[in-house]
Symmetry: C2
């Protein structure tokens, strides 16, 4: 598969009417061939109207049929893994192992959703039988289950060119439940996006689905991205990116004549609270684990530990241990020159804040976009007085907050914004005294981590990768794991509907053999 350098509008290529651009290799600063054509309103209109048309039949496909599509995409990606991983390395400077590992995760997600919708119990099918003899009024028969919302716009992320982009979790979960997808490619990795997009495009054709089930657009600037969100045919949005960008999309979606849900994953500093007992028992191991979590993927993870909370009395021991490991750490180049610039600006902004000191830093990397892992320190008092210190610095930077006892821990936990994760490092037997802390953190985060670090997001049934605003637009959802399927659906009730017109999942004989709630009892 060689690169064409065009948007994919259903089964066709975009016209590239809005100019062109080339990707940049962040490790070398060199531009990469070929040029990619940018598209505008025409492509948006065509992709969204194809998606709306496709929805009318795609929503009626069986879970098994959509599972086939997802598995065909996964197989197609694996068949092209060498080309995709190579182009991804060139466009992102991420190491080969990471590129191949992310491909494994991406295909795993596709197959996970395939298994989920092929089986069908996730739909929360409910059957309430009629009772014509009920007094004072007869009881109607009602049956409900989840149904797809309609076309979904997916914004590809810079930091996961596969797992959170064109064929990532948002796309996989939307296609799984019966929603066509219009992916907006992240312009930092257009070649990776095109290669993945073409696998999806081919899979749609192979599976006999209407072409509008998938489009991939290269759009210049925010204006056109917002116009895409404003399209009346679009019924939901998935987004992974910055807080500023995510909020802009949220505001556009909320201001539409018909507001639509936006699932934006935006920013998180993922606080790590370390008890006195934990420092006493394993200071060195915690510092090592922290340094590794902080610098993993050059700190470009949404779950990067950007805030550490410890007791003042542990300061010297912890700082010495961090210094020991952090100085050994260097980072590969960041994903784009702009991201590296923002990182350096973030470091400067923190360094200039009242009471903030540099506790340690790693080695600078040898690249056109050198960055240095950095750990700052500040007192709880200064932290609580300065909201600027709660900002995310996207990259391998963290702030250690020194507390005067457990009451400061609680104050810091109460002051932070919504987070994807919150972590407690503790010692067995000690945790009971931190019950209030854990309860406070539960109100702030989507995932509570105990004696581990927040990076590494397990893809499964019980994962929640979504927390209160501003970590995401809406903490009532997750973008990772099977529960992500719920985002692009709504419940529909059929009242006194003839059996033959009901979806199979709701028919009286339960032909698919799924778990249902029948007259209030869960029946497997």
């Amino acid at each position: 598969m060689s690169l064409v350098g065009k948007s994919l509008v259903g089964s066709e290529f975009g016209s590239g009417s809005e100019g062109e651009f080339k990707a940049i290799n962040p490790a070398s600063g060199e531009t990469l061939e070929p040029a990619f054509g940018l598209d505008g309103k025409d492509a948006i209109n065509k992709a969204t109207s194809l998606a709306a048309e496709a929805f009318q039949s795609f929503k009626l496909t069986s879970g098994a049929k959509r599972a086939q599509l997802l598995r065909t995409i996964a197989s197609g990606l694996e068949a092209n893994v060498d080309a995709i991983a190579q182009r991804m390395q060139e466009e992102t400077a991420l190491p080969e192992g990471r590129c191949r590992g992310e491909m494994g995760r991406t295909c795993g997600q596709l197959r996970m959703f395939a298994d989920l919708v092929e089986e069908g119990s996730w739909l929360d099918a409910r059957v309430e039988h009629a009772d014509p003899d009920r007094a004072p009024l007869p009881k109607p028969g009602t049956r409900s289950m989840l149904r797809p919302l309609g076309p979904v716009v997916v914004f590809g992320a810079s930091n996961f060119p596969l797992a959170f982009s064109v064929a990532g979790g948002d796309t996989a979960s939307a296609l799984a439940v019966g929603c066509p997808v219009i992916a907006k490619a992240h312009l930092a990795h257009p070649g990776t996006s095109e290669l993945v997009g073409r696998v999806i495009q081919e899979s749609v054709a192979t599976c006999g689905m209407p072409e509008g089930v998938f489009s991939l657009l290269f759009l210049p600037g925010e204006q056109l991205a917002q116009e895409l969100v404003q399209s009346p045919e679009v019924k939901a949005v998935g987004f992974t990116g910055s807080r500023r960008g995510g909020r802009a999309i949220m505001d556009v979606a909320a201001a539409r004549p018909e507001p639509i849900p936006v699932f934006a994953e935006m920013s998180s500093i993922n606080p790590v609270f370390i008890t006195r007992g934990a420092v006493a028992a394993r200071c060195d191991a915690i510092a090592q684990g922290f340094a590794g979590s902080l610098t993993l993927g050059s700190g470009q993870f949404c779950t990067n530990p950007g805030l550490v909370v410890i007791d003042n009395a542990d300061r010297d021991a912890f700082v010495a241990a961090i210094d020991k490991y952090l100085t050994k750490m260097s980072c590969t180049p960041m994903l784009t020159p702009a991201i590296a610039d923002h990182y350096r600006q973030g470091l400067e902004a923190f360094a200039s804040q009242d009471g903030v000191t540099v506790l340690g830093s790693g080695a600078g990397a040898d690249s056109p976009n050198p960055i240095t892992p950095t750990v700052f320190g500040v007192s709880a008092e200064k932290f609580l007085a300065n909201g600027a210190l709660s900002a995310e610095i996207f990259g391998p930077a963290s702030l250690v907050v020194f507390c005067d006892g457990a009451s400061d821990f609680l104050k810091v936990a109460g002051a932070i914004e919504g987070q994807l994760t919150a972590t407690v490092q503790y010692e067995s037997g000690e945790l009971e005294s931190f019950t209030d802390l854990v309860s406070q953190l539960e109100s702030k985060a989507g995932r509570l981590v105990f004696n581990a670090f927040p990076t590494g997001v397990e893809v499964g049934h019980a994962m929640v990768h979504g927390g209160p605003y501003p970590s995401t637009s809406d903490g009532r959802s997750t973008s990772v794991g099977t529960q992500a399927a719920f985002r692009f659906c709504r419940p529909v009730c059929w009242q006194d509907c003839p059996d033959e017109l009901l979806p199979k999942e709701l028919q009286e004989s339960n032909p698919l053999g799924i778990t249902r709630l029948v007259d209030g009892k869960r029946v497997i």
Copy 2:
């Protein structure tokens, strides 16, 4: 229990600093004693901060404890049913049977949510066991379940002074899941609101809950209602009312520094599609059922059938049958003089539209706010060309759209906005030819009704009372039935958490014996 005429701010009465007002009996036009004190920012600040404080302990109560609260409220309402029903009649002009019936439904809802949360399986508890030997990386143990969002503001509805107001479905579902409630009373029925609110206030105290679990505010004007929604302590909103009012609340909530979800039920014309076969088989019965559904409760139901779609060829038979039953119908006075005024203005607006004729009307009622049930007619062509004809006239008015064949049915279904319900009246064997119509309607509505009328909303596990915008703010939820509990929650994941710190629902031994998803299998 005699009326005090004050807001309830936690366990205390409001100061009434913003003036006072009296209720009006819509049947007589007379003002009712006593005066009610209006409150402002002070009461808002106090109620919201009490709610936030209460949330810290209320969220940790067991489902059984919250079930006790809900049942105590239900029993308290029943103990005061005579006083509440009498005041409700005076304030609303609704007949006694309706008032008592709505009390039964309200208490039924409270007990339904009590049963739900006492049992606990609704929380979707998920357990994924750790696998330390997994390659290449060990698998962490993850467990997830739903947790409450925080304080919820509930706007009482005019048309259901009990079932969708102070102790209505929004309040019951919020309290059930662990969210404190700040109810904003509808000023059309302040006495009913106070009597119900005081039962809740007393129940909170009886059950040993913190006072901030419930407040009831009388607020003047929209500005203060919006300030209540803007309070940082408020984490979600339930609303039942007009499209204009609901959208204003949605916009305020979306523009907050921390946007919050709004569950607003706003407007719906609940289209009824009647096939040729149905008219041929039972024209008279359908017309009778329609006239009854249209005028029930003076047409003041959110599921009132405001649009009927039939074939041109059935015009004469159907119009004659409607006329036969409609002329017999009269309505009790509407809930408020303002609602009656809006109704009459709506009739005038429709009557002046191009191609609209009056097909029939009922008897005028003898009251200070007389209204006349009215059925208009228009061709599909004119209907499709004029968006104004899709507006809701709140009250006993409906528009019959005459179609040239089944393709017009599809066009009308495609043109309508989001609806709470869509109904098909058909004959057995005939429906197969309407598969496309049913599929189209599924995209437009939350509930599909077959061979019945949309009024009458069954309260149960499979009910969906919520459809695409503008029928509600967010079609992904329901305000009626047990699935309403999902609205005020979000999933939280505990990773590698010590068993004793987990909520009981997630502990390894499953001490509550609830249904859970364990390693991908639903275990009862």
